[in-house]
Amino acid sequence: MTNHYIDLKNSDCILIMGSNAAENHPIAFKWIMRAKDRGAKIIHVDPRYTRTSARCDYHVPLRSGTDIAFLGGMIKHIIDNNLIQEEYVKYYTNASQIVSSGYDFKDGLFSGYNQEKRSYNKDTWTVEKDEKGIPVRDYTLENPRCVYQMLKKHYERYTLDQVSSITGVSKENLLKVYQEYGATGAKDKAGTECYALGWTHHTTGSQNIRTMSIIQLLLGNMGICGGGINALRGEPNVQGSTDHAILYNILPGYLKMPSGSIDTLQKYNDKYTSKSTDPQSANWYQNYPKYTVSFLKAMWGDKATAENEFGYSWLPKMDDGKHYSILHTIDSMYAGKIKGFFAYGSNIAVSSPNSTKVRKGLQKLKWLVNVNIFDNETASFWKAPGVDPKTVDTEVFLLPAAASMEKEGSQSNSGRWVQWRYKAANPPGDALSDGDITMRIIDALRDLYQKEGGACPEQLLNLKWDYKDAWGKFDVLKASKIINGHYTKDVTIEDPTGKAPKEVNLKGELVPTFAKLMADGSTSSGNWLMSGSFEQKGVNKMMKRGKEDPTGLGLFADWSYAWPLNRRIIYNRASCDLNGKPYNPKMKLLEWVGDKWVGDVADGPWPPLGDKEKGKYPFIMKADGVGAIFGAGMVEGPFPEHYEPLEGPLAKNPFSPQLVNPTITIFKSDLDKVANADEKFPYVCTTYSCTEHWCTGFTRWQPWLLEMMPEAYMEISEVLAQKLGIKNGEKVKVSSVRGEIPVVAMVTKRMKPFQVEGKTVHEVGIPFNYGWRWPDGAADASVNHLTPSVGCPNTFCPEYKAFMVNIRKA
């Protein structure tokens, strides 16, 4: 989230699209209802009418996988009706920049496409720069090659008729949403967007979000109270686990994972350090080397020295262009290339797409370590229905873990609030915290390498691995301080003006903020974003429980710690005009008073942009300092374009000859079958969670929750049920080209057929929380038996939200 949960109350219009907030983030709805009480409009756009729809002003059903078409139509509406926040668009976005002449878009493809590699050469996705290297701008926005005009041109095709025909949304409903949301372009109005897996679970997932980001920039809704683009994330610490990069492509603090071609730290830093010659751009990522070196110092401790490039060579390196997401790992596993697998607090036999492939892959492992608080379908894969244990050679370890209230530590919510939780009781039996388990496994492994040597022992033995407390347990506070960072030697900082006294920092003291991190090895920080969360004088800011809210905006600056630097709303300088006065005086998030910002922790101390000498653009993490309407960072194009899901009901994309996202990776195993526009699988299916369950269903082990949602079901419209002769509550079988599962049919008025390209398209929905392992006698009803192994090319987040099925009576 760029904003945070309580801030939802400050909005004038909340578009819930790609989310079922009332069901999956019920407490978020507390704040959505507060906004509604203030008179805000609450709109739900979703294939299904859900508990969220029931409490919104209105619900707009949309065919799964057509969000870009829907939002592209909104961009067109905003431009055609001049609803933009003009000053904001001109000065705080790249709308005024001039797109390079080589850039083109034709027949659904952008310039630079390589059919064979299924990827783009992005050389033409650039903007013109002057002799100093600063982007050329046309503040009239009239230059036909300026981003604004190019955007207008790109979405010219997204007419009401066309969008309605593709999405299945009536023109009346489209207009209603466009007008309502477009009205938040007024300077004193805020519109926000809540999304979740409903947007990410598509082969166009990242671009779904980017389309909305463009809308938010056009309407001046980023960086303001009640605005922003807000991912309601699905797991308690998924923000933290992402920040700390349990991911193949990044290192903690969103530093890039190096590849073999970048053989020195110098080259690595050169490549990823953001460059700008514009004096008005803060270009925050120019500090990149400070964060890299501080991370390496935290990881390798004293072993990291300037001479050995702070241990850069010990980091594992990827191959250029190769990916290692779970989709790729499972593909390798199924191909027999993975021998061992660690699954912490996870259940890939249920959660990953194409479960049949996943489960066959698990059978090829030599060993599997699963850390969990309950058994699950992954740990017990060797005795799954249809599997003969005698044929499975895998050694399996199921390690008992502590539950969250049985251990201490911090966790980060989607609003970036890093909150502390305390230990209320010991875990049962032999169960240990995940931190303890990791510590002990690595301890045992280091012992072996110490004694026996082996392949590249430096990686393990040079690791700073000092997390034991006096009782031999994982010391959470110690880890927390390592993440915050230390001075690794005495550092004295002179005030350049000579006015202030010298700042003396002693070796071992905690670094007060990431602004103090250095690239020379004199500081360490496990994750620069968290630098400042722990004070040298002993205050753990994550534990803060101050309840004061002097602004009434719900910032609660004294409650927990929000990264970065306790900033509650990111890019908050964009809430003020060129002179630092808030666009909406009633929601005064920040204001330039005299020579400083007053309010939330500002995105940097510099004056507002109006100060031609020292002023800076508000989007400080971007090299050019402005919001990217033209976004060259994306894999599939600088402007989002509608493509059909990998499996959909249409044989042809009405917008272009390019049916599906041209840059998706197609896996080629014998189990990766696809059936697009195939009469054998005529119905669109989508998947989701419900309030009562969580993810792959470790809630199934909890009787109170299981009682409420005891078994897998499929929501189906009355029309389709009648057509197929299916009665409410009846057992049915649902199949895709990849598998079949039994579920209970829930015949409902809440699902309605769509009219798409002149024909009736039916959509059904199945929750993904179920599996055979529990409750006793449960059917093998994991809906991921049906889903395809394909993902968004930017993130490899799988397409769980749109694929094709058939239904028959059981």
Partner: protein, 265 residues
Amino acid sequence: MKQELIKLIDLSRCTACRGCQVACKQWNEMPASKTNNFGSYQNPPDLQWNTWTLIRFQEIEDRGGNVKWLFRKDGCMHCTDAACIKVCPTEALYHTEFGSVALKAHKCIGCKACIPACPFGVPKMNTATNRISKCDLCYTRLLANQPPACVLSCPTGAITFGDRDAMLAKAHKRATELGGDASVYGDKFVDGTHVLYVLTEKAEVYEHLPTDPKMPLSIIVWKDILKPAGLITAGAVVAGAFLHYITHGPKTPEEETTCEGGKES
């Protein structure tokens, strides 16, 4: 009476997150039953001895053909003129100082008289203990100045709690604000209930919600004629059975109880 308290359930604010349904079980330490999906989000299908509150899910189409999904938190209404108390031969059911209806379980003899008497179908039999089981509006929490578990759990302000007059005023204000078919339910019968609804639709639209709940006439007769004669504990079972006979005839109200007693079946 110490202080008459009312729980207000504003259905226009409920998201059916069922925090209340679980919070009730958590606080009152009640088990789950084994259930099946019968084609609805609702489960268990009805109130049970171990489910004192339940969100009922109901889909309707309004006159304009718009789908509405109605959520109603069902449970004890805590009547002022409470039939269950009137028929209870052992005074196991009683009014607390807050106006709520609570149960002294050790006094219950399992006569089941309260089951058919209640116009809302609230008291349920726990066959494992042979005693009645029902919501007591978290009596021990009220004594400690804590809101009932369901009230604390509610995220959206659909369930609020407070003094009778304040809650009545709030309910009527909200119903007026909502307009249309919205109304207040609970203040006009059985001398007023200590649970009020703000309904968004006409009362008759809601399943399992009596439009005109009242105490069965037979109970009034029985109470006036027989109860003054007094009942001693030893004779209570017989009296209870007799009471059941005169109010409902010889058929046993087994269907009204949750027979499983929490067993898996």
